[in-house]
Amino acid sequence: MSTPGMNTKPALPNFDVEALRRDFPILAREINGKPLVFLDSAASAQKPRVVLESLRKTYEEEYANVHRGVYWLSATATKNYENVRKKLKTFFNAKDEREFVFTKGTTEGINLVAQSWGRAFLKAGDEVLITGLEHHSNIVPWQMLRDQIGIKLVVAPIDRNGNLIWEAFEKLLSAKTKLVAVAQVSNALGTILPIQDIVRAGHAVGAKVLIDAAQGAPHMRTDLQALDADFYAFSGHKLYGPTGTGALWGKKELLDAMPPWQGGGDMIKSVSFEKTDYADVPAKFEAGTPNIADVIAMGAAIDYLSALPWDAIEAHEADVLAYGTSLLKAIPGLRLIGEADHKAGVMSFVLEGVHPHDIGTILDQDGVSVRAGNHCAEPVMEFFGVPGTARASLGMYSTRAEMDALAAAIRKVQEIFA
C-alpha cells in the first residue's frame, strides 16, 4: 500500500491537471454564473466521460439481463459485467476475482459482513473494535448486530488532532476482540489510519479486520494481498464511477464459509420447496438482478484510473491539500477540525460566529460547492464540540486555483457576518 501523506515526492512534471479536468464534462459548467469549484468529492466524485460513454454503450448497444440468456446480448452483458471483477482484482492486486462481491456501496458491504459473517460467527460478549473516527455506516451495522446477538461494540479513542491514539487502541485489543472494523481514511477529518499496522495488531489477537475504504480507495492505491485484511469495502461512486456501485472484497475462505444474507434468483444452484443449494461466491451474495450497466461503468472508471500515473496524482493531491490548508489557516477566526499527522483529501473547518450551513449557502453563490453538516459522523462532531463543520474535500481534479477561490469565498462569508 502506498500512502500519499507519508511521502514527500514532488509533483511529477508529466501530470497535467487541466488535461485531466477535461475528462470530466461537469467541471466545465458554471454555478450562479461562476465556474464550478467542486469540493465535495468525499460525498461523491464526479465522473469522467469514459464512464458516461460506458453507460450509453451498454444501454444502446449491449444491454440485457445477465446470467440468464443463451442469446448474444445477454452473453455479452454477462461477460462485460463479470469482467469488472477481473479489473478490480488487478487494480487492487487481489488473489482471486471471485473475492469481489458487487454491492451498492460501502454501506451495503459493511452491512453484509455484519449480517452474514457477524451473525454466523460472532456470539454474545464478542467484541467488535472500531475507532472514534468512524462514519455512521461503520457504527450502526454493529449496533444493530449488538442488539440482535449481544456483541459488544468497543471504540478506540482519537486525540484532539484527529489521530487514532495507538497505545489506547492496542490496549483495547484482546482475545475477546473478534473483529476490528476501521476506516482507511476518515470522511469527516481526512485522517489516514495506519491500516497496515491495524491489520497486523488485529491478527495478532486472532481478530478479523475489516477496512471501510469508502474514503481511502479514491486517494491511494491499495494492494490487498500485501495488506492482508479480511474484508475491504468501497464505493464505486466515490471512485469516479456511477452511483449504486461498489464492492465488498473478502478473503475467499471467509466468503465461502458465510451464509447468504438475501435470498432470491441468481444466488442459487437449485431450488425445491424442501431445500435450496446456494451458488458459490460471489453469486451467493448477489441475489436478484444486479446493477448491470452501472457495474460495467464502474469497470470503465477502474480502467480510467488504472491508466493514470498514481504517484503523480497522490503527489498532486497532497500538494493541493497542503496549499489549501495553508490558505485556510491564514484566515483569522477559522478553525480547522482535524489536523492529523497523515491526511488525505479533506479540510473540515468552522468559522467563529458563523454556522456551517450559512457558510455552505454563501460559498455556493460563488460556485464553491462544499458540504455543511455532521458528515454522517455525529460522534466525531461531538468529540470536537461542534454541531457540524463545513467540509471542502478534494478529488484528483482539484487545483490550487480552486483553493484560492475557496479562501476568497470564505472571506466573503466573514464580510457578510462582520
Binding site: 460566529g353 454556522h355 450559512d358 453563490q365 455525529e378 457540524g388 457578510i416
Partner: protein, 153 residues
C-alpha cells in the same frame, strides 16, 4: 451578492447574533423539541400557556444557522400575547410566505407580516426553508402537546 444580502439582512444577522427570549423558561407548562438531522439544527421551545389559551410567555433554546436562530427569535417576539388560534394562523401565513405560496389568503396582521418580511429571502434558497420553519413547527408541536420531537429535513 444581491441574493445573499436578501437572505442575510441586517435584521436576520442581528437576531441570530443576539437572539431574543433565548434560554429555558422556568414557568413553562408546554415544551417541545425540534431537530433537523440534515444540518444538525436543534431547538427547544418553551411555552407558558394560560387557561384562556393565550401564549403568556415563550422562550427557545438551541443551536443552528443564522436563518433558524433569527426565525426562532422573531417568532418568540410575535407569538407572545397571541391566542393559540392567532398564533397558528400566523404560522400558516409565515409558511406560505417562505415557501412562496403568494396566493394564500392574508389572515395575519400586516404589522406581523412586516416583521417577518426579512425572512422571505429564503424563497430563493429552497434548501434553507426548513431552517426558517423548524422553530415554528416546534412551537406548534408545543402548543399541541406533542411528545415526540419534531423532525424536519
Amino acid at each position: 451578492m444581491s441574493d445573499l444580502r436578501d437572505l442575510y439582512q441586517e435584521v436576520i444577522l442581528d437576531h441570530s447574533k443576539k437572539p431574543r427570549n433565548f434560554g429555558p423558561l422556568d414557568h413553562a407548562n408546554h415544551e417541545a423539541k425540534g431537530h433537523n438531522p440534515l444540518c444538525g439544527d436543534r431547538v427547544t421551545v418553551f411555552l407558558d400557556l394560560d387557561d384562556a389559551g393565550m401564549v403568556k410567555d415563550v422562550h427557545f433554546q438551541g443551536s443552528g444557522c443564522a436563518i433558524s436562530m433569527a426565525s426562532a427569535s422573531l417568532m418568540t417576539e410575535l407569538v407572545k400575547g397571541k391566542t393559540v388560534d392567532d398564533a397558528k394562523a400566523l404560522f400558516e401565513q409565515f409558511h406560505a410566505l417562505v415557501t412562496g405560496e403568494t396566493d394564500a389568503p392574508l389572515t395575519a396582521s400586516a404589522d406581523d407580516m412586516d416583521r417577518l418580511e426579512p425572512l422571505t429571502g429564503v424563497r430563493e434558497f429552497p434548501m434553507r426553508v426548513k431552517c426558517a420553519t423548524l422553530a415554528w413547527h416546534t412551537f406548534i408541536a408545543a402548543l399541541d402537546g406533542k411528545r415526540d420531537p419534531v423532525v424536519t429535513e
